[in-house]
Amino acid sequence: MLSRVADSFYWMRRYLERAEHSARVLDVHLSLSLDDPTDAVGRTLLSAVGETPIDVGVEASDVVPREATGRIDPGHRKAVVGFVVGARENARQIREHISSDMWEQLNSMYLALRDIGAEDDTDSSSFLRSVIEGTHLFHGVAEATLSHGEGWHFMQLGRYIERATTTATMLEDYFGERGNTTLDVQDAGEYVEWVGLLRACAAFEAYCRANTADVQPQRLAEFLLLNAECPRSVRFAADRIEDSLRAIARGLGRQATGRPERFAGRLRAALNFGTIDEILEDSLMRYVESIRRQCDQIHAALNQTYISYTIETAIAR
């Protein structure tokens, strides 16, 4: 497969993951801000959206929420639409390689959002819903109509590297603001805030099933980091990342011992065999920060191995 094509598969999916995640965060923020106009939680959540490495023309000042109006900030709307545009542009580059059903789904999602986006007064909640649903639909269509070969695995990598990174970032922001020590829920307001974090990760129901609705920050960190089954946990993402890297190497007849596989294997092992007590004993902040760094390493190694390798390394190979 051409490197450019693989890169577009990766970014198409990564942008979509980011669109879905941002929409979910904004949705939680919207409902929290109706409860509490000061909305401290919402602000923390939003900083995760605001710190996107991709420039979509949103200034930091745009990210400060307005008073509770039941609507999201136009800057945020623009950012979310921008992610969908990014996904669509990448899909357009590889229309020959994705299934036509995938293209049609993504294109109609884009057209619908563009039309909603044009009217500023429309219902924010339905805008966000349609982003989340559109992404789910796209994933379902891709799962059912695209061969699960190289392109598929590059999509998986984009999806799960993004997911691991954002989950780690949210934990970092959340616990960072509260300090490593305050791990007890003090009052109802705080309870709502922690639930907000779970809902922003689409993990509230899964958490309750595993731990009951007794939301303890320590349990919460354990769940979002180390749970093997919840598709939003970092461990789940790390497992998928390593699986896909191995599948790609196997497909190309390479030994799966390159830098990407090494980084991914290390991350997977840390998450598979670590316990929350050890993590807390050292420092949760350091831990999530290192996860984020490892995701960046995997991304860079992936790029250097398959996409933008230098001529020298390619000739030597």
């Binding site: 051409l2 020959e96 790609i248 007849g253 390798y309 390619a314």
Partner: protein, 491 residues
């Protein structure tokens, strides 16, 4: 101007109510309004059809094009809009005898033009003997000085040509222009046939039509024959400027049909004069490039420095002979509209034969006598800029305003070498289905010629372009033209 409904079977059908003959050649009816032999079966079918049935088929066809994404991009529109190339339901039919002559004529022409290109960039015999003025060649916009004296194993300079033919009032075919750089439209030739089969299958039972589906295979074989290293199985790629190019659909279509990789300039790199494409499995050597990028943009080191579409170092790799290109660099000099006037002489010079397909009479405005005549008669002539294509930079005298004529007069006087003039041709007309019936519309014909050195292959058919606007003579897709399926009968 005898109305067709004056006699014959046509009067029976309201579909033909507004069909009028004029002085141009009508592909379907002779001067008396009788259907020509190859069209009789088609006419018999049409006469029984209610107009609603035709409309339904037209809608089906339009929907099929849109669904399959068979579109092109129009420049100048805001953001480059994707449009469907209008498809005309009724096929154009050529007899085997007509085709025989066209095919031989095109093969002869392309053989001679290939020899001409090799000669002018090498020895230059034809220039030394004064058959074609040296000055005319070296001042041509698409002449590539970089190709002078270049020893190259690739003898075939033009591998793919799309020559435009017109049919004159006496029914004979003449060459209007040679497209020898990156001719496009062949995907429409192929998809038009598929769509006609789908929406009008009954027509195919009345005729024995020569197939065209093997075009992609023939193209692949032509490209293979260019490979510098004939020992291994060569890697062939289609080089496209990218998704924003008007012909991107075609590039993707041909790559898919041939089963080769569709690449952009950024997918290729040159190292030690060898061209590679960048894949997830490492660098892969490229042997033959079917390039759909103009000379100017191929290599920023050799040609336009601002080109972001090309590959740095490609020209040197080409010089070194490690990669072949179709078409070769510098072929545009042979489809310069002023050099065109010399093609009959070129054929005689290299092959010692009379041209089978004649040229259209052409005035070279660089010549004083021709220019004087043309400036006198601007209102009757078609003036074209020599280096342009696609219907841009043209003046159609009879349809022009006096301001436009003045504008062209100024331009011609300022740069006479840059223009030619031709009489306004009465292009032949072919029945077209328009929403309220069948009317004649002007058409041309672009067959696609593949050359591998010794011989040329012309897939029996071609793209018939239609000027769908009533009275219009411009058939280019960028200027509101459409196209129709083109049949060559087996016997």
């Amino acid at each position: 101007m005898a109305p067709v409904s004056g006699g014959g079977p046509v009067a029976l059908s309201p579909l033909f109510a507004s069909y009028r003959l004029d002085s141009s050649f009508d592909e379907m009816f002779d001067a008396d309004g009788q259907a020509r032999a190859p069209y009789r079966a088609l006419l018999a079918r049409l006469i029984d059809l209610p107009i609603e049935d035709m409309r339904r088929r037209q809608r089906e066809a339009d929907a099929a094009f849109l669904q399959q994404g068979i579109t092109f991009t129009v420049y100048g529109d805001k953001g480059g809009t994707e449009r469907v190339f209008p498809y005309d339901l009724l096929p154009r039919i050529l007899t085997n005898a007509e085709w025989e002559r066209i095919s031989r004529g095109l093969s002869q022409r392309l053989l001679a033009l290939n020899l001409f290109l090799r000669d002018i960039y090498g020895e230059g015999r034809i220039l030394a003997e004064g058959i074609v003025p040296r000055e005319l060649v070296v001042t041509a916009q698409h002449y590539r000085r970089e190709m002078r004296g270049l020893y190259h194993r690739q003898d075939v300079r033009i591998s793919v040509a799309g020559t435009d033919l017109v049919r004159l009032p006496d029914g004979s075919f003449a060459v209007l222009e040679d497209n020898l750089r990156v001719p496009s439209g062949v995907s429409y030739m192929l998809t038009n046939r598929q769509i006609t089969k789908r929406v009008f299958p009954q027509l195919f039972t009345d005729y024995e039509i020569q197939p065209i589906d093997h075009y992609a295979q023939a193209l692949l074989a032509t490209l293979r024959s260019l490979a510098p290293n004939q020992h291994s199985s060569p890697t062939i790629v289609v080089l496209t400027p990218g998704v924003f190019n008007s012909a991107y659909f075609e590039h993707a279509f041909l790559a898919r049909q041939m089963g080769v990789e569709l690449v952009e300039g950024r997918d290729l790199l040159v190292h030690d004069n060898i061209v590679y494409m960048r894949t997830t499995g490492g660098l892969r050597r490229v042997d033959v490039i079917y390039r759909r990028v103009d000379d100017d943009f191929l290599d920023p080191l050799a040609f336009r420095r601002d080109s972001a579409l090309g590959v740095a170092g490609l020209f040197n790799a080409y010089r070194a002979g490690s990669v072949a290109m179709a078409n070769a660099i510098g072929t545009g000099v042979a489809d310069d509209k002023a050099v065109y006037a010399y093609v009959p002489a070129i054929i005689k010079f290299y092959l010692g034969e009379e041209p089978i397909l004649p040229n259209v009479e052409t005035y070279l405005l660089g010549n004083d006598a021709d220019r004087a005549y043309a400036l006198e008669h601007l209102g009757e002539l078609v003036v074209k800029a020599v280096g342009e294509s696609g219907g841009y930079g043209m003046l159609i005298g009879p349809h022009s305003t006096s301001a436009e004529r003045e504008e062209f007069r100024r331009r011609i006087v300022a740069n006479p070498r840059n223009y030619i003039a031709q009489p306004t041709l009465a292009l032949s007309r072919c029945p077209s289905f328009l929403d309220d019936g069948i009317e004649p519309r002007h058409v041309d014909l672009r067959p696609y010629v593949l050359c591998n050195g010794e011989e040329c292959t012309v897939v029996p058919g071609g793209l018939t372009r239609v000027a769908l606007k009533r009275g219009s003579l411009v058939v280019n897709s960028s200027q509101g033209g459409g196209s129709k399926d083109t049949w060559v009968l087996a016997e």
